[in-house]
């Protein structure tokens, strides 16, 4: 018999804040985390837009020798996970006595890899890379670090699926708990926010060049959008079976009721409509949920011309005449990529628990496709008990999750 899967803790390190309260207020007030970086401009970026994230100080928590193994995104993930565990009222003593797993989304470690290899090339000596280089430069760096730091003895796995990485990490965790293979899994996603991680992405002209108005640059679904703004940070959710949560008297925030996924089998960077539509359709079908039960859709929409149009068509196709409220929180955060699936679940849960839908800022004029959707341009007080969250990535990887209020 399938187990119910609940979310008992959330933690985040993002451009909208480092606590759930800060992030809730930023969402409500339509704050943008986007800035202009003079450094990126001088180094040759076509677009110098990015997001501002506070550098975490791990010194009080992690010794120097262990911090050596942690690149930027693992540090964000550590802070987010500390907060999530605290939020879930799960301490180290409990973790030591139970089998807790980790599945986290991450799909690059550009800066750490580059720094280590630069030192190797300069000194012509592999030892010059330093002790942490190998552990910092692997895609699984977040899960390998966090599993050791928090002494986790359950599943230890990284999900790499481009911008759908952390949505898949939550989906996989959901399946393992639902099927009784794990009682509790720490899941989420991390994204490095340094300029080297997105230089090649800038090179293929994917970013907005609205540099004169940074906070207006990320404008998903708007007629005048001209590309995405790269962001970063980390977001962690604590998932456990309902029985496990009740047994340890955990605070239960929400329930994951379904996961759907699909592949486009098409172009590496240009999405189609049918792949995403199938992900939404399967998610609804797998959870035996009708479109009318969904009170809010947190769209993947990143502010690119084709991506947003294709997603708008997919949502319109699946929801038909029912005009479900839709927004993309990327209008405020930029595109948090490997972190986005997890962070957007947190954003949506914060809205659901606090009775509002954060406006899709900068949505001023629809185009033909977004005109078919019910997009909220401004924050609205709204009660909803179930939402759907989309995440799509390069290579045509799609993931959709449905979460219910508890």
């Amino acid at each position: 018999m399938n187990k119910r899967v609940v979310i008992t803790g959330m933690g985040i390190w993002s451009c909208l804040g480092n606590t759930l309260e800060e992030v809730r207020d930023s969402l409500y007030n339509g704050k943008s985390g986007v800035i202009f970086s003079q450094e990126r401009k001088e180094l040759g970026f076509r677009s110098a837009l990015c997001t501002q994230i506070e550098t975490p100080n791990l010194k009080p928590f992690v010794s120097r020798n262990l911090r050596q193994f942690m690149p930027e995104e693992a540090q964000y993930a550590y802070m987010a996970t500390r907060s999530a565990l605290e939020n879930a009222r799960m301490d180290q003593e409990y973790i030591d006595q139970h089998e807790i797993g980790i599945i986290y989304g991450n799909d690059s470690v550009a800066e750490a890899t580059m720094n280590a290899l630069d030192r190797f090339r300069e000194f012509k000596d592999t030892a010059a890379c330093g002790s942490g280089a190998i552990f910092q430069s692997m895609n699984s760096t977040v899960t390998m670090n966090l599993a050791c730091l928090f002494k986790l003895r359950g599943i230890n796995l990284t999900a790499s699926a481009a911008c759908a990485s952390s949505s898949h990490s939550v989906g996989l965790s959901y399946l393992l708990i639902r099927d009784g293979l794990q009682d509790c899994i720490i899941c989420g996603g991390a994204q490095e926010n340094n300029l080297y991680s997105v230089a090649a992405f800038d090179g293929i002209q994917s970013f907005s060049t609205r540099e004169s108005e940074p906070t207006k640059a990320s404008r998903p679904f708007d007629r005048d959008r001209d590309g995405l703004v790269p962001g970063g940070g980390a977001a962690t959710l604590i998932l456990e079976s309902y029985e496990h949560a009740v047994k340890r008297n955990a605070p239960i925030l929400a329930e994951i009721v379904s996961w759907g996924f699909s592949g486009n089998g098409d172009h590496i960077s240009t999405p189609n409509v049918q792949g995403p539509a199938r992900s939404l359709e399967l998610c609804l079908k797998n959870g035996n949920i009708t479109p009318a039960q969904i009170g809010y859709v947190n769209a993947h929409a990143t502010s690119t011309r084709i991506g947003d149009s294709r997603e708008a068509q997919a949502i319109a196709q699946i929801f038909g005449d029912y005009k479900v409220p839709v927004t993309s929180t990327k209008s405020q955060t930029g595109h948090e990529m490997w972190m986005a699936g997890a962070s957007e679940l947190i954003y949506s849960i914060l809205m659901m628990k606090n009775g509002f839908i954060a406006g899709n800022i900068n949505f001023e004029n629809p185009d033909d496709d977004s005109a078919r959707l019910n997009i909220y341009p401004e924050t609205k007080e709204a009660h909803f008990d179930m939402f759907l969250s989309n995440s799509f990535g390069f290579g045509g990887t799609n993931s959709t999750l449905i979460v219910k209020n508890l």
């Binding site: 010194k59 120097r64 020798n65 000194f123 000596d125 030892a127 010059a128 890379c129 002790s131 942490g132």
Partner: protein, 80 residues
Amino acid sequence: MTREDIVKEVNNLLAEEFEVDLELFTPDANVRDTLSLDSLSLVDLVAIIQQTYKIKIPVADLKSINTFNDLYNYIESHLS
């Protein structure tokens, strides 16, 4: 560079890199114990000496460096 300069610079460098109190750095203190070096972080000691002084410490030589005095001596004798 005088011996005194080397001692001062090396101590400051290692105290900052390994986050250890400078007062623990006595000439006869064991480098590995004082800096809490294991087989992995020992690589960082080699790397930082190489990056700062352009001196590569081969594994065979590393075995003979036990105290801070040994380390100062090694650097002093290999500085060109």
